[in-house]
Amino acid sequence: MNGARILVVMRKELRDSFRDRRALFSIFFSAIFFPIVITLMMNRVADRARDADHVVIPVVGAENAPALVNWLQQQYGVTIVPGPSDPEAAVRDKKVDVVLVIPKDFAERFKASKAAQVRVVSDSSRTVSEPVVSRVRGLVAAYGGQIGGLRLIARGVSPSIASAVQIQNIEVSSAQQRAATILNFIPLMLMIAAFSGGMQIATDSTAGERERGSLEPLLVNPVPRSIFVGGKWLAATVAAMLSVCLTTALSVAQLHLIPLEDLGIRFGLGPNEVIGMLAAILPLCPLTAAIQLYVGTYARSFKEAQSYMGVLISMLMLPALLSSLYPIADRPWMYPAPIVGQYLLLTAFLGGRSPGWLEFSLSAGSAIVISLLLVRLTTRLFQNERIIFGR
C-alpha cells in the first residue's frame, strides 16, 4: 500500500515536471549543451595538432643562413615565409605563433665553428601555439645536431662521444590515458548532468509546493510524510538519471564523429566502457536528488532554494579542480567519498582501465547510504510545523 503510494507521488511529480518548461530545460540542458561543447573543443585541439605538422615559419634574416633555411624548407610540411619587421610585437599581438630570427653574425660564427645563435620568439602563455613552437625548436635543434655530428666526423671523432648521456623517452601512459587528460571534463559534465537533471523537480516539489500553498492540502491526506518525501525523491532521481543517460548517449555519439586520430588518440568507448561509466555515475543521482530535496525543504522560499543550488553545483567542480592541482593517486578510502568516488571511477574508465568491484561497491554503496540518511532527515523536516507553515 505504502509502496504503491510512493509511486503515486512520484508519478504525479514527474507528470507535473514534464509539463514544466523549466524542469524540461534542466533535464535536457546538459544532454544538448555538452556534446556541442565537446565537438567545438576537440575540433579545435585536432586542428591545432594538424597545424603542427604543417607549419608556416616566418623567418627574419633568412639571408644570414641560407643553408639552414634551405634545410628547413626541405623538411616535411614546412613553409618558410619572410618574417615581420617587429617579431616580438607580432607574436605578442597574436598575428603569428612563432618567429625565427637569424642574427647578422650567424654566418661568421658558423664558419668559425662557434655556437651560432638563432632566436625563437614565442609566447608561452598561449597554449594553442605550443605544438607549432615545439616543432620549430625541434627542427632547429635537429639541424644543429646534424651539423655538429658532421663536424666531429670531419675531425675524426665519433659523434656519440659528444653525447655522454642519451635520453630515450618511454611513455608509460597509454594513448587512452593521454586522451583522458584531454577528456577530463567528461566526468565533470556527467556530474553536472546528474545534478541539474533533478534540480527543478526537487525544488519545485518542496520549496515550490509550499510557496504555492499546495503543501498543506497535500499533507491532509492520510499518508505518512515519509511517503511524500520518498515519492518526491524518486521523481528527482529518475529525472537526474534520465539526464545522465541522455548526456552520455549524445556525447558518446558525438565523440565518434570527432577526428580523434589526428590527436594521436585511440579512443575506444565501446559498449562496455559506456555501461561502466553509467554504473559509476548513476548512483550519484539519488544522492544529488536527496541533497536537493533537503535543501529545497529547508529553504524559506523557492528563490532561496535556487541560490543554494548554485553553491552546491560549484562543489561538483572541486574534485576535478583539486586533482589538476594535486595529481593524487587513487586510494581505496577515497572511493566512498561522494563525488570524489564517482570522479575516480569515471577517470579510470576514460583512461582505459576497469575499476574493480570493490571500488564500485564502495562508491555506489556510500552514495546510497548517504542519500537514504538525507531522505530521513528531510522526512523529519516535513514533520516540523515551522518548516511546513513557513518561518
Binding site: 500500500m1 503510494r5 503515486v8 507521488v9 504525479k12 507528470r15 507535473d16 509539463r19 514544466d20 504555492r212 500553498g213 499546495s214 503543501l215 498543506e216 492540502p217 497535500l218 499533507l219 491532509v220 491526506n221 492520510p222 499518508v223 505518512p224 510545523e385 511546513i388 507553515f389
Partner: protein, 242 residues
C-alpha cells in the same frame, strides 16, 4: 461528528488557541465565526491533523485525532485556507491524485471522479489545466478533491472568501447538500452573513477562546441583540481591538 475539548496551541509567546472546546454534530452545519487572527485557521489545522495541539483532545467520529492523525484524516475532507492547486495538472488529475493517495484506484476512482465532476457542474473544465482557472473554478476543484474519498466530516476554511455571488451560492448549495447527506460540516468564516445564511449552530471565537456557542436564535437571546451582526460585534468587539 467532531468533538474538541480544551485545545491549546502556542507559537512562541503567542497563545493562538487558548482552551477551545465545541462539538460539531452529524448532519449539521457548524460555523466557526471570528475576526481575522482569532485562531480559526489554527484550530482547523489541529482538527485536520497537520498541526499538533499542545494540549487538549480531538475526536473525529470514534478516532482520537491527536493519537492517530492519519486515521482521523481518512474520515475528513478538507478545504484548507488557500486551495493550493497545481497549475500544470487538470481538474480531473487533481481529483485522481488525491483519490490515489486515499488508496482508491482503478474503475472506482474513474467513477468517483466523473461523479464529482458532474456534481460540481465542472464537465467543461474537467480536462483543462487549472493554471488559468477563475477563483470559483479553483474552489470547485479544491472541493471535489477534498470529497474524493466520500468523507463523513467536511472541514472548510473560509470557503467563500473572495468568491463572486454566483460562486458563493454554488458553494452554499454544496454545503447544504453535504449536510443533507448526513455529514458533519464545519466551516470557518469571518463574514457574519455567510454564517447566518448557512449554519445550524455557531461557535464564536475571539482571541483564541470560544466566546459564545449555540444556534443563531440562542446567540441572539444570549446577547440581547436582534441583528446577528450586532451579536457578533458585542461578542468579539473588544477582543478585536485588543
Amino acid at each position: 461528528m467532531i468533538q474538541v475539548s480544551g485545545l491549546h496551541k502556542r507559537f512562541g509567546a503567542v497563545h493562538a488557541v487558548n482552551g477551545v472546546s465545541f462539538t460539531a454534530p452529524n448532519a449539521r452545519v457548524t460555523g466557526l465565526l471570528g475576526p481575522n487572527g482569532a485562531g480559526k485557521t489554527t484550530t482547523l489545522r489541529m482538527l485536520y491533523a497537520v498541526m499538533r495541539p499542545d494540549e487538549g483532545s480531538i475526536q473525529v467520529d470514534d478516532v482520537d485525532a491527536v493519537r492517530a492523525p492519519q486515521t482521523a484524516q481518512s474520515h475528513l475532507g478538507v478545504l484548507p485556507d488557500g486551495f493550493g492547486l497545481y497549475p500544470r495538472l487538470t481538474a480531473r488529475e487533481h481529483i485522481r491524485y488525491y483519490g490515489q493517495l486515499h488508496g482508491i484506484g482503478g474503475k472506482a476512482l474513474d467513477e468517483r471522479a466523473a461523479e464529482l465532476i458532474t456534481l460540481l457542474d465542472m464537465q467543461e473544465i474537467a480536462d483543462r489545466r487549472t493554471g488559468g482557472f477563475s477563483h470559483g473554478e479553483r474552489t470547485k476543484v479544491a472541493i471535489a478533491r477534498a470529497l474524493v474519498h466520500d468523507p463523513a466530516n467536511v472541514l472548510l476554511d473560509e470557503p467563500t472568501n473572495g468568491l463572486d455571488v454566483m460562486s458563493t451560492r454554488a458553494v452554499r448549495v454544496i454545503i447544504r447538500r453535504l449536510r443533507d447527506q448526513g455529514r458533519t460540516v464545519l466551516f470557518s468564516s469571518h463574514v457574519m452573513q455567510e454564517v447566518s445564511a448557512l449554519c445550524d449552530s455557531i461557535v464564536v471565537i475571539a482571541g483564541g477562546r470560544v466566546v459564545a456557542n449555540g444556534t443563531p436564535d440562542e446567540l441572539r437571546a444570549q446577547s440581547g441583540h436582534e441583528n446577528l451582526e450586532d451579536v457578533f460585534v458585542a461578542l468579539t468587539g473588544q477582543e478585536v481591538h485588543r
